[in-house]
């Protein structure tokens, strides 16, 4: 494995319900999203986080704001 790790943005939410609702909203907004175990860097967030590529962050945050599901926390994470 010599390739550089890929960077992502992870969003944490107040609850699993909110995380899954946010996943639906992002998919409906054509933002590619993957559910991942919540990284420790997200602190007081639920056990499920959502991961997107950094270039989609602005669009993602706009979608989530419109859906009334602002992330509780965000962090940059590496792929493994």
């Amino acid at each position: 494995m010599s390739a550089e790790p890929r960077r992502f943005v992870a969003y944490g939410f107040a609850s699993v319900h909110d995380a899954l609702a946010a996943e639906d909203a992002l998919k409906a907004g054509d933002v590619a999203v993957t559910a991942i175990p919540s990284p420790r860097a997200l602190g007081e967030s639920c056990g499920i986080a959502l991961r997107i590529v950094p270039q989609d962050a602005e669009a993602a945050e706009s979608v989530l704001a419109r859906a009334g599901l602002p992330p509780r926390a965000s962090a940059e994470v590496d792929d493994i």
Binding site: S15, V16, D18, L20, A35, S38, E44, C46, G47, I48
Partner: protein, 387 residues
Amino acid sequence: MTDAAPRSCVYLDHSATSWPKPPEVVDAVVGAMTVSGANPGRGAYAMALAASRIVFESRRACADLLGVPDARDLAFVSGCTEACNLMLKGLLAPGDRVVVSSMEHNAITRPLHALSLTGVRVDVVRADETGRVHADDFERAVRAEPTRAVICQHASNVTGAIHPVADLADIAHENGALLLVDGAQAVGHLDVDLAVLQVDAYAASGHKGLLGPQGVGVLYLRPGLDATELLQGGTGGGSSEDEAQPQGRPERYEAGTPNTPGIAGLGAAARLLIAHGAEWRAEEQAVFGELKRGLAAIPGVTVLGPAVDEPCAPTLSLVSDRLDCDRIAFELDRRYGIAVRSGLHCAPWAHRTLGTLETGAVRIGVGHGTTRDAAAAVLAALREMLS
């Protein structure tokens, strides 16, 4: 394992629990125990996410069915009894006064009794002799003294009478009180829209008219009305490091691993009711009306509750001047294979109101799948036994 399969029966105990469950409900329960059998909300591997999705989609389906705009305002609980306990114990405190109807089920009266021992004052508004609750009686009681909550079932589990919940909501709110409703016998059987009813809290059973499995129910709390949770524990959400229970909905009220198979089945049932509920309710009412009219015409039989043609949930109770209720129920089962329930139906207050506390009654509950043949069978059997 039991040593004998249950024999087929004419099932008329839908007020206790619906049976048989739709195949889609059974499939959903099995799916949640097999292909999606992980613990929801606790992990992010594929099967855990699938389980989390089941709970999420079921909550949304229940919210859509019940007219709840934000699904987070619905908490999954073990049943209507837990929902009633959470609603009452989570919202009432020593020194509060509540006004409650005399038709309530033990799921309401027993928590209220426990609360009365802590200093909650319980004032009962008596229904009329047919078990109907009158809004003006509540209005007088609520206006008489400061009141924290008005409490009333939506429909009677003894007579099927539908109570004026929307009017009670107005009365409660005009007087600074909450309206707390036990909807066990209404959901699924009536077109329940909580946004229209303007209730503050509504407890519902998942396994009666909603056609889900036993062991699941829901509690609606309107936005901004926070009850103190009954249980604290792991929720999957919030910060696991935090000593305090997360305060967000729905996790606040759902400590511990949920009943995912039950929730899956309830979600499947809710989706069916969204698609077919209006048609199924019309059929239930047609069969129920036919049955009630026939029973009322049997000499010596008294059908308790509202008049034959008044709107009701599809539940009725009857007494006979010829046979005790327990004997009727036993003979219906033994001789005719007809399942009904005798006794007080966990509602001694209601039977006291109706004058049947000493005798009990025979209860017949119609539900989804009850056929005209089933109604005809019980009519023929009772005519033979009681005429």
